[in-house]
Amino acid sequence: MTFIQKQRNILDVALCSLLRRKGKNLSLVAAYVFVIFLLSSVMFITDALKREASFVLKDAPEMIVQRLVAGRHELVPTAYAKVIGKIRGVQSVSPRLWGYYYDATNGANYTLIVHQDLITSPGSIMVGRGVARHLPAGGNGTIPFKACDGSYLFLEIRSVLPSESELVSADLVLMSEPDFRRLFQMPEGYATDLVLRVRNVRELSTIAAKVVQLLPDTRPVSRDEILRTYDAVFSWRSGLVIVIFAGTLSAFLILAWDKATGLSAEEKREIGLLKAVGWETSDVLLMKFWEGMAVSLVSFLTGIILAYVHIFFTSASLFKPALKGWAVLYPDFRLTPFIDGQHAATLFFLTVVPYTAATIVPSWRTATMDPDSVMRS
């Protein structure tokens, strides 16, 4: 009981001491909050993007087969599907049609994909939210596409894609096969690539080898390779903000160092006085510990909450330039709120612990001197 009461009494003095230097401590808290805000924003967005990537690739095919001509991606004959389908272990092979289209009116690139749901309804399309947002107000719900022969194809929007993963679907247009072939003058019997489902994923490398053996002009790409590519993309995005992370961490270290090396004459005198009236060195250090904890905990929690709001409620508005990518249709995605406990704990130990230690060290130096010497200095 005495122990708890002592802690309460000393905490009381510590808080009082913080309030007495309101201006200095508020500016310190502001800088600290900003640092934590940036660091945790980076942490949140990195983790959330990785989750987003895994969500996107959850249903990706185990393997894609492309055709190469002179090292370039070329249309693949759909007849290849029959050859590949006969390989032992291959469950299914289906041709896929997709490509890019530049809309001069909006100045935007669309990603066009043939979707099986639209097979029976040519003339209809499903679009991503980015495409929908850029449609002219008061339009009749159709988009004119300029075909390769110069004619126009008016396609009616049947629905807008859900925003679960707008980061990758913002510029998406799903259309029927006839419309796609007409738009690009793509001959029948050819597809952009082939997607494979296999019975046992451990046989992927064997199947890939057999595909290349049977069809030497093809390139099989497994899901693991796609995952690595996506990871590299998201890591690149993380990599861009990691520069902010490193810079901010450096700023924090400077802040902590400044605190560690600086103790005002008034603070020193106070420590001397407390020692003179009977406070032990450990009591003074306890007070400074509470001061450091109060500043760093308040700053840490405020910074974390602000970062959470920033990333998950304002869609990382400050990081948008880094997330826009090459598409003109910028995603307006809402990341699924997610905090990696281990990362949060790491951030806590990287900031709160060193800051609190930095608060205690100069006080310890002063508190171990004779109170008389401190008060005279």
């Binding site: 009981m1 005495t2 122990f3 009461q5 002592k6 309460r8 009494n9 000393i10 009381d12 003095v13 009082c16 309030l19 007495r20 230097r21 008034e266 005198r269 106070e270 006085l273 407390l274 020692k275 003179a276 009236v277 009977g278 406070w279 032990e280 060195t281 450990s282 009591d283 171990t368 004779d370 109170p371 008389d372 010497s373 008060m375």
Partner: protein, 228 residues
């Protein structure tokens, strides 16, 4: 009782500006008495009081408080002796700015772990005793010199110490307030406290409350005038 034997305190030892603030002083301070150390600036009064109050360790010599040798005690034991045995009244008051008078009075007792309500009750009683209860909630920078002095005395008595040490307590007070201060010291003496004062103020040195006047110069005791 405090007894010091052949105390020497050297500052800046080994440097070109080395000097001995106290140079071989031996003295016995009797209980329940007011002892005043008198001397010009730089005579070593304040340093001697700091040594007597366990605020600074002597370079050499021995100190005994109530028969217990304390010179070689670790810092935490000295802190405990300061907290329970000594009350300090500083020349500059040394009240913590930004805190109220009441909080300043309570400060020495915080590490004891005593309940805050009980500390507050005792602190208020002390402020009442020294006629400044109405200033309990005032910040110390709002207090006059006399009020600050009284708050300082209240703080010194918060842990009910056996010894009260006052360093130039009347330096910032007028004659009337200085006399009032000596009256308070006399009252404390009659309650059984041992008072040690460093001063060259005639109001203090000539006060009838003083039992012993110790003259100092250049870190040495020059005269001892026992008035009782």
């Amino acid at each position: 009782m405090i007894e010091i034997k052949n105390i020497r305190k050297v500052f800046n030892a080994g440097k070109t500006n080395e000097f001995a603030a106290i140079d071989g002083v031996s003295l016995q301070v009797d209980s329940d008495r007011i002892t005043v150390f008198k001397g010009p600036s730089g005579s070593g009064k304040t340093t001697l009081l700091s040594i007597l109050g366990c605020m600074v360790r002597p370079t050499s010599g021995r100190i005994e408080v109530n028969g217990r040798e304390i010179t070689s005690l670790p810092e935490r034991f000295l802190a405990e002796i300061r907290r329970s045995g000594f009350g300090f009244i500083f020349q500059q008051y040394n009240l913590i700015r930004g805190m109220t008078a009441l909080e300043n009075v309570m400060i020495p007792s915080y590490p004891t772990g005593e309940r805050r309500s009980s500390l507050k009750k005792r602190a208020v009683e002390l402020l009442v005793l020294f006629n400044v209860p109405h200033k309990a909630g005032s910040r110390v920078e709002e207090l006059s010199g006399g009020e600050a002095q009284r708050v300082t005395i209240a703080r010194a008595l918060m842990n009910n110490p056996r010894f009260v040490i006052a360093d130039e307590p009347t330096a910032h007070l007028d004659t009337k307030l200085s006399r009032e201060f000596m009256d308070i010291m006399l009252g404390l003496k009659t309650e059984g406290k041992t008072i040690l004062i460093a001063s060259h103020d005639p109001v203090v040195c000539d006060s009838i409350a003083v039992d012993r006047l110790v003259g100092m110069r250049d870190g040495r005791i020059t005269t001892v005038d026992d008035r009782r």
